[in-house]
Symmetry: D2
Subunit: 349 residues, 4 copies
């Protein structure tokens, strides 16, 4: 029996903070699925929304329910839904593409011009229930550790970034070792990367980087270029995976990228970055990929296979578990740099 109301974490107003509230359980349309959330995890984006920073002020329309990383049990399905059933354990792609634009019609739905992100532009998963269009549901293979179910969104970011170019036999630098950076290290190693250099100022994160398989974890304040060039015969790295969004890290990353290398950029700088295009990119004959979301749904298939079949272990990145109601604590742990990925358990789960 689905109740009429539920507990939800709500961004109630155009101001810092969020609040637990009783809210109506969403009604679903004929092509929707209602999921009883079991676990939701906290993303850096949620912290921006919580703090109500410039980006959040421009994008977010309160009141609404944030949360875009989750897993749970299907509680109801609309009349037209096929292939998803009540009781299925699922996660979901929260980028809801329009289906009609050039990008959606030509294999690039992940950069749909009219995308709506559930948990950002519409109600999300920090609640007992969340409504998801059936096409966006991803059924979780029972062989996937249950704890990893809410992590397909950020893990998929990592998979998309790593696999946006050749990786087997390549030397790789990962700049920024938040959760997606850490996942990227494991993905790169699982896909045959030769050496992975993790570059990160925070020692705790460098330690996690080593656990995730980094060959070396370098303090970004040290002689990164010297260390990388020594270890690559003077060439620099074949591949740069930029996960920080920090201007200095971006420049440092390009400075160690070899002639003819590949850079995939996922970290989001908060303002324009000054970059020496001539030397960083043009003379170098580099290829640069901007990475947004996950390919629908190639990335999901790859992510599933890497966890299920190739032994990629996400558990070291999960540093904390808290009930949803302790979201304030979660936000503070995250911003302190003490936490990597925090799982929030929802409802009676």
């Amino acid at each position: 029996m689905i109740p009429k109301t539920m507990q939800a974490l709500v961004k109630t107003a155009a101001a810092p903070g969020m609040d637990m509230r009783e809210m109506p359980v969403p009604e679903i349309g004929p092509a929707d699925v209602l999921v009883a959330v079991e676990t939701a995890s906290v993303c850096g984006t949620d912290l921006h929304i919580y703090h109500w920073d410039e980006w959040a002020q421009a994008r977010i329309k309160p009141p609404y329910i944030p949360g875009h990383e989750f897993c749970g049990i299907v509680a109801a399905v609309g009349d037209l839904v096929q292939g998803v059933a009540v009781g299925d354990f699922v996660s979901a792609e929260m980028h809801v593409a329009c289906g009609h634009c050039l990008q959606c019609r030509s294999g690039q739905a992940h950069v749909c011009q009219f995308v709506k992100i559930l948990g950002v532009d519409a109600d999300g998963a920090f609640a007992d229930y969340v409504r998801i269009p059936a096409t966006n549901i991803w059924k979780l293979d029972p062989a996937i550790p249950r704890d990893f179910g809410s992590l397909f969104d950020p893990f998929g970011n990592a998979v998309h970034t790593v696999l946006s170019g050749a990786i087997a036999g390549q030397t790789v630098a990962v700049t920024g070792c938040g959760p997606i950076g850490l996942f990227s290290i494991a993905v790169a190693k699982a896909c045959g990367a030769a050496k992975v250099f993790a570059i990160e100022p925070n020692e705790k994160r460098r330690e996690l980087a080593r656990v995730m398989g980094a060959s070396v974890a370098l303090d970004s304040a040290g002689d990164v270029a010297g260390a990388v060039h020594a270890a690559t015969g003077g060439n620099g790295v074949d591949v740069l995976l930029e996960m920080s969004g920090h201007p200095a890290a971006i420049r440092q990353g390009f400075s160690i990228l070899r002639m003819g290398g590949r850079a995939s950029l996922l970290g989001i700088p908060s303002r324009p970055v000054e970059i020496d295009l001539a030397n960083a990119l043009i003379f170098k004959g580099a290829t640069v990929h901007g990475i947004n979301g996950r390919k629908m749904y190639e990335t999901w298939y790859q992510a599933e296979a890497l966890i299920r079949d190739s032994g990629v272990d996400l558990s070291p990145v999960i540093t904390h578990r808290l009930p949803l109601a302790r979201f304030d604590e979660a936000m503070h742990l995250l911003e302190s740099g003490e936490a990597s990925k925090i799982l929030l358990t929802v409802g009676s789960n």
Copy 2:
């Protein structure tokens, strides 16, 4: 009979200017070819060297002979040379790759770590004779108009840029309509581009852009974004070919690139550029290629075929012809913006 001395345009000193001098004809080694230059053309790089700007001061070691775009007749070949004979009409790839580095050994010789460019790092083609390693010689098909022989270097830049991604059926913006930009327009159209938007402040160049096949030539000071979006159903262009190196043009170019588009950057900014990576590239899921030189020698085969078989006509870009000795006039024509490509005739040709 090869003489002992020759006339050459020499960068004699670390100061502005160049001088015609009598110089020894180069001696060739067993794997070299000596070419009697017939035509050399002037590149923007030559103008930097002439003016002795910051870049030139850092890179150029006078005295030496500049000039890296040319064609001529083979006058002598070394003992080990195969497949090139005295009397052949040839041009040459002036990027001399080392042959031993990672890039040279893995199909990326165009970004050789230890490249020497003849005409920049060693003696070039502004002279009666030039010495070229035999592997770098490109024999010119007699079906190629003789006037185009010296243009394979810049035309090859255009071909490399245009063909660094999909082009058939694509909408394209070319920012900057110097000779390489103009060539790119013709190449894009010959390779099936849908619409080509030429974006350029100089009206003379916009006129040439139309002659080369641009669907529209837009003044960069006008409402470029409005015009492009109107003509692309609001999508923006599929492909950006950046040929100017100007920060404002680069930013303008990215602003009209569609979600999921491709940008190929050839123009060299003279200093770091501030760029909104988040919106220009990352959210957009764009792919960016830095373009350096020509692929050895895929680009040369493509360039030859496009001229010979697909009717690409370079002649509108050739605005002036002068004897080599009138190089001062050529430099001034070039910097005034009045000239596009200037052919210098050499020796008694």
Copy 3:
């Protein structure tokens, strides 16, 4: 006013032939579109169905309405349809993909495991009206010549085949000059192919091949290898586009493909083919693409752009126009080899 009944060409029984019948106008669901057919064109597949050959006996379930190449005017749209309106001039992708399989979920809907082809597996367009799922509708740009509207299906096959690998600057052999082969010649030339060798036993078709832009049209019974090798410096062609499905043509095509070349196969052999894999493909390091349908919907965008913006002219391939009721005559013209593409006008059009 949409009538209750319509005239349709019906495959009434599991036997040779087809018959004009009065049939109910299809009812549409909430996500469907009803199109008043203006023109339908005849495909080789229709001839197989007409003659009730082995393939047809295995695949076709009479009674049903064939016809999968068409254009017409939207007569009605279902309640959920967005972006398509009554009065729009449209064609459609007749491969209806399931939307749920691995292929549909990862950018390969054109090889959906559970595809239904309208006009083959369900009612098609040889009728006054045809029902199409809205997602499969392609709105025809008014700049497209109205006569070409029904040809996007076979023209799209050609575009998909040609653009399944590099084409600019490449030498190309097209084996088999039926309509799709002829279209391929024009597409290849419009996309910068160097030389196109059309290889075909029928002189009428060779003549059309020349009109469509073939550099040379060779009788497959002649010294094809000699001619191709002479014209390609002994290399053979860079690209083979196999459009015939005939074993001898397939072998001939591979025999002239250069080392490292690309072969894209669209012609369907009616039974297994003996092929010297070692020499045709493996030692050669060739890449072979099997081509099925059109990419959804990249191919449609490319096809539209090539006709509208790059001047690809399909009209030489349209050899006959007949009213639908004269289908027997059309089938005979097609099988005689006298016709290339036949347009059938439908209803009062």
Copy 4:
């Protein structure tokens, strides 16, 4: 001190067998390297030459020294050689490309039209000394287990095959578990393949396949299609790596390849193969790669990294070690199916 003569295994006549003979040590030219062979390994090709089968009769010109898989110590270098020194431990790419053809000039030297294979078309490594052009030398990283030095040729075949398309997260079938098939299994797993199905009639080889990392090893006489479809949700495999050259295995492999899959063919059929192109390849929209040799030298870099950095272990495939003089025994072990890879120790090593 390099002696004047050496012991070598010689194909003395156009007849079955080989003989140990005293032969002159090869003289080297200015661009050559002389290597004192330490270990040579036996390839199936050597067995064809030994038995003097049809292929050997057409290709081989006795007398000459076979052997194309080896490692050893540089004993002398020509005057023009750079970067290789006496005492270096090396292997070599034995495909000596011409350097002048279209393929050599455009990044496809592995399919050079005029290739000479040392050990097949000219003297090879079954001898105390072998002469190698310096450009073909591959210096072995000291971190590579010494035993694996002679295996870069067949291991490189495997690497080239596996990495000729996407592999991370993919399901893979390997048909044929000779040494290259076995190596492919390990490479695929190291590069993130999801499941690898080894398909092979010989139980000993199936056992090795499991050791190398196959998820399942299936008897080709069993219900392969049933097992593969059950394990892939009915899809079939994403990737087929064909290593046997047997017609039945090729057909079986294609029968389990999914719609839109990739097949890379390395095994060489001894005669033409009957194949159902329509269903195996065309309707499927499959991509097929013919694989020849190793990419020069991308494959070598990848092979080195996979062994050195990704822990790929070749040792289970090395089933026997014998002195060169016991070549008859080696040939018989190989043809009995009892041996996988046999290392022959050379000289006093």
